[in-house]
Symmetry: C2
Amino acid sequence: MARFAVIGLGRFGSTLVRSLYQAGHEVIAIDIEADLVQALRDECTQAVIADARDKTQLRGLGLKDVDWAVVSVGEHLEASTLACFYLKEMGVKVMARAVSGDHGKILEVLGVDEVIYPERDMALRLADRLSHPNLLDYVPLGPEYSIMEVAVPDSFIGKSLQELKIRNRYRIQIVAIRDALTDTLNVVPQGEDVLKDSDVLVVLGTRDDLDRFREVR
Amino acid sequence: MARFAVIGLGRFGSTLVRSLYQAGHEVIAIDIEADLVQALRDECTQAVIADARDKTQLRGLGLKDVDWAVVSVGEHLEASTLACFYLKEMGVKVMARAVSGDHGKILEVLGVDEVIYPERDMALRLADRLSHPNLLDYVPLGPEYSIMEVAVPDSFIGKSLQELKIRNRYRIQIVAIRDALTDTLNVVPQGEDVLKDSDVLVVLGTRDDLDRFREVR
Ligand SMILES: Nc1ncnc2c1ncn2[C@@H]1O[C@H](COP(=O)(O)OP(=O)(O)OP(=O)(O)O)[C@@H](O)[C@H]1O
Ligand SMILES: Nc1ncnc2c1ncn2[C@@H]1O[C@H](COP(=O)(O)OP(=O)(O)OP(=O)(O)O)[C@@H](O)[C@H]1O
């Protein structure tokens, strides 16, 4: 289980806090507005009122050992820019929401590890779905199924997919094979394809079946 | 190709306009702010300044024959509520962005065909990705690949997946079979599974290969 700090408890931040906490992680929820902090008190590890622009307040929160700090403090560039700057100074891994392309570039220059554009990304997905009416919304199989990358197990090297009978043995499906050396992707691989040690398998299955498959040596 | 109206040209709306237009659809882009409308002039079929709360202005836009009207007019419930109400009166299919759960319920009561929650949905996806560090972000295979539902072709009924050799013949992969009668999903189906006429195939492949597969009778 991991430790997260979420700064900014709007619709995005509060949903993120709840989902991560429900998934069993430690979550510190931070906002300048007392009522938003209060509302999340029972749905996170720790809910704190703080001004992310204030270096002293931010340092007092014990954020040095979080795995990710996620910054989503709205339209005002000042709060996100300062918060990201201080968090990077503290050596924390930072993900921040950008309100525009330029804002995103500023955040990258500050060393933010990942800049996200939720409205833009959702609009792109929606455009794709509207353009393809029978296209399922990318996760048609429900939340219990995932697609994950798994390094090819040693015992599979040099064997073909059909001789390995992976679907029957592990209840997972290899939807693509990525060649880590050339970074090329072989999607919908054929039964005759032989696995090599530089292959990374892109697999589909339930979380449990995927976890079990990752144990294979 | 389809016709869309997008009302509200913030980050979400403007991205949607551009993507749909680039995908070859007709797009009418509408906003109350002249500069936002102007900025999109060359990236849509028609860019119009209008107040979505005004029934007369809305009716003057010739929206009756759009396939979808997408309403994303920000925090103020008044504009989205009125716009959705008038659009449904005009018999248009409406997708609207909700700023809260209650706002979403109001929109549903008004008959909005689909209510969307971009910030919440992106936060859920992000939480999933952060919880599973080697989980690819749902579309690991790149934008040229899709997952789509296709009704089982008549010639496949009564046959097993392995005898149909679908991957070899059509370069697509059946990742799941949905039974339309019971609405249950058989994910990572096995080669011995026999197809019935109530089956819907959930298939992965490139857009071209999927289009070709949909021609199969
Ligand atoms: N300096 C700050 N320190 C801490 N929190 C802040 C600061 N400035 C703004 N916030 C918080 O950030 C949160 C998110 O901001 P806001 O709701 O404006 O925008 P948003 O990111 O668009 O929200 P949403 O996630 O709903 O789309 C608010 O709850 C606000 O109180
Ligand atoms: N009555 C109205 N008629 C037409 N457009 C409107 C009306 N009211 C607001 N808008 C437009 O809706 C757009 C979106 O609103 P706003 O930027 O406040 O919120 P948003 O939906 O959170 O945006 P984003 O997509 O950037 O997250 C704005 O460009 C605004 O001008």
